[in-house]
């Protein structure tokens, strides 16, 4: 916020000039002269296009019918300084400039065209609610309220950004969320000194415990049901204006393999899917390295018939397995990125050209072996099973490192890589919560719950990791 504040004067023309100065003489700033019922002249200021036309027209048309008492705003709606008024205008409010008393009333007329509630594209679901967050903070808060109509749900609004204050809301549940973690979140948000914030990722990077890490320190979701589930576990949500991605914290490593849909299926299916995701995560991380280590160092470990087939397929390929592997993984990443960035119709074509034509041609040209295509494809598909969060990208990036280590030292390199990775993960903290929890430090009961989705009636305890005040969900809750 700008420290220098200039108060409104009794001269409306002077106030208009100052506001124009403050807003860099922007052309979309409109001032309209009106009189109140008492004959007192006022000026109505707004930013063209940022306000709701219908409500603005009503205000302009009926201004004369209002008396001063109709604008008897409390402190929330009354702007005393030019800078406050300018900020309100920038936030989509209309300003009614008064000469006596000098000041301006801010009326919320924000009317930007925003998309409606849709199914989140990044977290699609087969079974479960289909509504996703939008870019509107108020809509998102309403969605959370809709899914969690609890009087204990607490929303604390803030604005971050010196030049461009972006509203955000910190959500917690009274009686469940640990106040010390909540306090720490507020402290870290207060320490943000950025001049502007774009999206929730900027907040994430500012408040994370470890800023230089590859791994996500907070969770990001588009689904209100997931936010409510996290809040009920004693976690905290941060919703930022202008992004549909809501931050959930604290966040631990194994949560990356959970999706909200697990709880909408029978617990056997939910558990199997969860274990499948963990397995796929391991495949995504280790399979290329394992393949390279096996075919370059540990030939004896492969069944003879399989080795014979692999060797026959590899026979015409002139490159070492590690080069082949890097080339395929790199090509896969290119195709994946191209598929995402391209318009949808072209994206499909890229996938087909890349996967079928290029893959087949590369095999026939003897540049890569068919088994390497299978390994790269399987690895890529396995990473698709993970929820599309930063963990997904971290695993994709680390598979290159694992493959490199495997090419240097075989299984020894692979195991060394895994050990170093585990040590590093064990050293991380998310708002004081061990990142590898509940695996390290070990809490067998909660670890089971992370790997297996227990039947909901058996799941009476909240995770102790997030240090919720009330450790019970039901049966003797409110302890």
């Amino acid at each position: 916020m700008n420290a220098r504040q200039t108060e409104f004067s009794e001269d409306l023309a002077e106030n208009v000039r100052r506001i124009r100065d403050c807003m860099q003489h922007t052309d979309d700033l409109i001032f309209v002269d009106r009189e109140l019922a008492s004959g007192e002249p006022i000026k109505i200021a707004y930013l063209q296009g940022l306000t709701d036309d219908r409500r603005l027209e009503y205000l302009l048309a009926h201004a004369k019918e209002f008396g001063n008492e109709d604008f008897a705003f409390g402190d929330d709606g009354w702007r005393k300084s030019i800078q406050q008024g300018a900020e309100s205008l920038a936030a989509g409010q209309a300003l009614l400039l008064f000469a006596n008393p000098p000041g301006a009333a801010a009326i919320d007329l924000l009317g930007v065209q925003l998309r409606s509630v849709e199914e989140p594209s990044s977290e699609s679901t087969v079974k479960g609610p289909r509504s996703g967050f939008t870019e509107s903070l108020t809509n998102n808060l309403a969605l959370v309220r809709y899914y969690c109509p609890s009087p204990q749900l607490k929303i604390e609004s803030r604005k971050i950004g010196r030049l461009s204050p972006t509203p955000l809301a910190v959500l917690s549940v009274g009686g469940i969320t640990n106040p010390s973690i909540l306090k720490e979140v507020h402290r870290r948000i207060d320490e943000i000194t950025a001049d502007f914030i774009v999206g929730s990722n900027a907040i994430e990077e500012w408040i994370a415990d470890h800023r230089g890490t590859l791994f996500p320190m907070v969770e990001s979701t588009e689904r209100p049901d997931r936010v409510v589930g996290a809040l009920m576990d004693g976690r905290i949500a941060i919703i930022v204006q202008g992004t549909p991605f809501v931050i959930l914290l604290p966040f631990v490593f194994l949560q990356a393999f959970q999706v909200g849909e697990d709880y909408f299926w029978n617990f056997y299916i939910g558990s199997l899917l969860r274990m499948l995701r963990i397995f796929c995560g391991l495949i995504g991380l280790l399979l290329p390295g394992f393949y390279v280590a096996t075919v370059t160092y540990h030939h004896e470990l492969v069944p003879t018939a399989l080795l014979q087939s692999i060797a026959a397929a590899k026979e015409p390929v002139p490159f070492p397995a590690v080069v082949e592997s890097f080339a395929m993984m790199f090509a896969f990443e290119i195709m994946r990125e191209a598929g995402i960035r391209m318009p949808k119709q072209i994206g499909q074509a890229v996938s087909i050209v890349g996967a079928l034509i290029l893959g087949q041609a590369a095999v026939e040209a003897g540049i890569v072996s068919p088994i390497m295509v299978i390994v790269a494809a399987l690895t890529g598909i396995c990473t698709f099973t993970l929820p599309p969060n930063a963990m997904n990208y971290a695993i994709r990036l680390l598979q290159f490192g694992m493959t490199f280590l495997a090419s240097l030292l075989g299984y020894v390199g692979l195991v060394a890589g895994i050990i170093v990775l585990l040590i590093y993960l064990a050293s991380l903290r998310s708002f004081g919560v061990p990142y590898l929890g509940p695996a390290a430090p070990l809490n067998a009961q909660e670890l089971t719950d992370v790997i297996v989705r227990r039947p909901i009636p058996w799941d009476s305890k909240r995770p102790t990791l997030f240090r919720a005040i009330n450790p019970y969900r039901f049966r003797g809750g409110d302890k």
Binding site: V295, A305, S309, A312, V317
Partner: protein, 380 residues
């Protein structure tokens, strides 16, 4: 400090890259050895032959185990030297670790089995599960067989071992089994025997056949056990899973009643009696099913089944006694009777262990067979 840290990191990465990759071998830099044969070489050395898969390349689909093979041969004073000399003739490094089977010729086994097994173990390339076979004649002939049913001899040799579970004529004997038997000395070594069958024209080697076992006394070859003796051996040592038996029809020498032996188990108890002679009791249980047609004038009745069981008891007892006779005649303790006595009566064993090779042939064996015919697959 920061610069020193960077230098340390750079050195660590350099050391890793510099020291790594040394043991790596790309698949198109190696030849996969599928089976090897050991024969007597010139000047009393070892002739080592290796069956190597010829990999299909180019645009063809990989053929896996259907590829043709070629053979490389090397001679040296021991297996290691022969293998090294073989590399001189090869365009690629030989991968011995995938060797499925080792075929040892009788001639080289007659010299000393221990020497060859020790060399193979010290070579440290072969899997513990590598199958071992013996042949009377040139072992390398086995690797040259052009079979209609398999293109790689190693596959045929593996198939033979697996087939032993249903035929009761051979069994899976691995390099580790032999090594353990020789090191522990619990029982004498027994190695499956094979032979090469020629085509009808008598020119080409066309098939490999399991023929029984070669029995050893220490590291010396003791003798060859034919199929009947092999059956008796496998039954007595509780290594038989399944086989077939037959009984002749009375008065009709050509006609037989066939049975499938679906389960066989044996228990051996050995002790030394008051006279100091080891007494061995062998109990065999076998379940059988009638699989062939009964003799012409027979109707399957409980009485007939009881009679068959009685005759089968006698038949199996004869098989086992034949094997025992063979083992006593050659003084080769293939069932580990000495070790059983050692474990049960260690004090008495101390007194007889030095003369065990003389005592074993006079051990008193009692064989008790209990067969049960479960299903006659009765049809009206």
């Amino acid at each position: 400090m920061r610069a020193a840290r960077r230098i340390a990191w750079a050195l660590a990465v350099f050391a890793l890259v510099g020291s790594g990759c040394k043991g790596s071998l790309e698949l198109n830099e190696i030849h996969i050895v599928h089976s090897i044969a050991l024969d007597v070489g010139k000047n009393g050395g070892v002739k080592l032959s290796a069956e190597i898969a010829r990999l299909a390349s180019g645009q063809q689909q990989p053929k896996g185990m259907l590829n043709k093979t070629f053979m490389l041969t090397g001679e040296g004073s021991n297996i290691f030297e022969a293998a090294r000399l073989m590399r001189v003739m090869s365009d690629r490094t030989l991968l011995w670790g995938q060797t499925t089977a080792i075929v040892i010729s009788k001639d080289i086994a007659l010299q000393s089995l221990d020497k060859q097994i020790e060399s193979l173990r010290r070579f440290r390339q072969f899997r513990n599960t590598t199958l071992v076979y013996m042949i009377d004649g040139q072992a390398s002939r086995v690797l040259e067989v052009e079979m209609p049913n398999a293109s790689i001899s190693a596959q045929a040799l593996r198939g033979l071992a697996e087939g032993g579970e249903t035929t009761g004529l051979t069994s899976q004997t691995s390099l580790l089994d032999i090594y353990m038997d020789r090191i522990n000395g619990y029982q004498e070594v027994c190695i499956p025997a094979i032979r090469v069958l020629k085509s009808k024209e008598g020119e080409l080697n066309r098939l490999i056949q399991a023929t029984g076992f070669f029995a050893f006394r220490g590291d010396q070859l003791a003798g060859f056990m034919s199929s009947r003796l092999s059956k008796g051996y496998l039954r007595a040592s509780n290594r038989m899973r399944s086989t077939n038996e037959k009984l002749t029809c009375d008065g009709k020498p050509g006609d037989t009643v066939a049975f499938e032996n679906t389960r066989s188990s044996s228990r051996i108890t050995a002790s030394i009696d008051k006279t100091g002679i080891p007494v061995v009791r062998l109990e065999v249980d076998a379940d059988l099913n009638l699989v062939g047609q009964p003799c012409d004038d027979q109707t399957v009745t409980p009485e007939l089944i009881a009679e068959w069981e009685k005759r089968l008891n006698s038949e199996i007892e004869d098989q086992i006694k034949s094997f025992i006779g063979f083992s006593q005649q050659h003084a080769t303790d293939l069932l580990g009777i000495g070790e059983r006595i050692h474990r049960k009566q260690p004090q008495q064993w101390k007194q007889i262990k030095d003369e065990w090779s003389e005592i074993y042939p006079i051990c008193r064996f009692t064989v008790n067979v209990n067969t049960r015919i479960d299903h006659t697959n009765f049809t009206v």
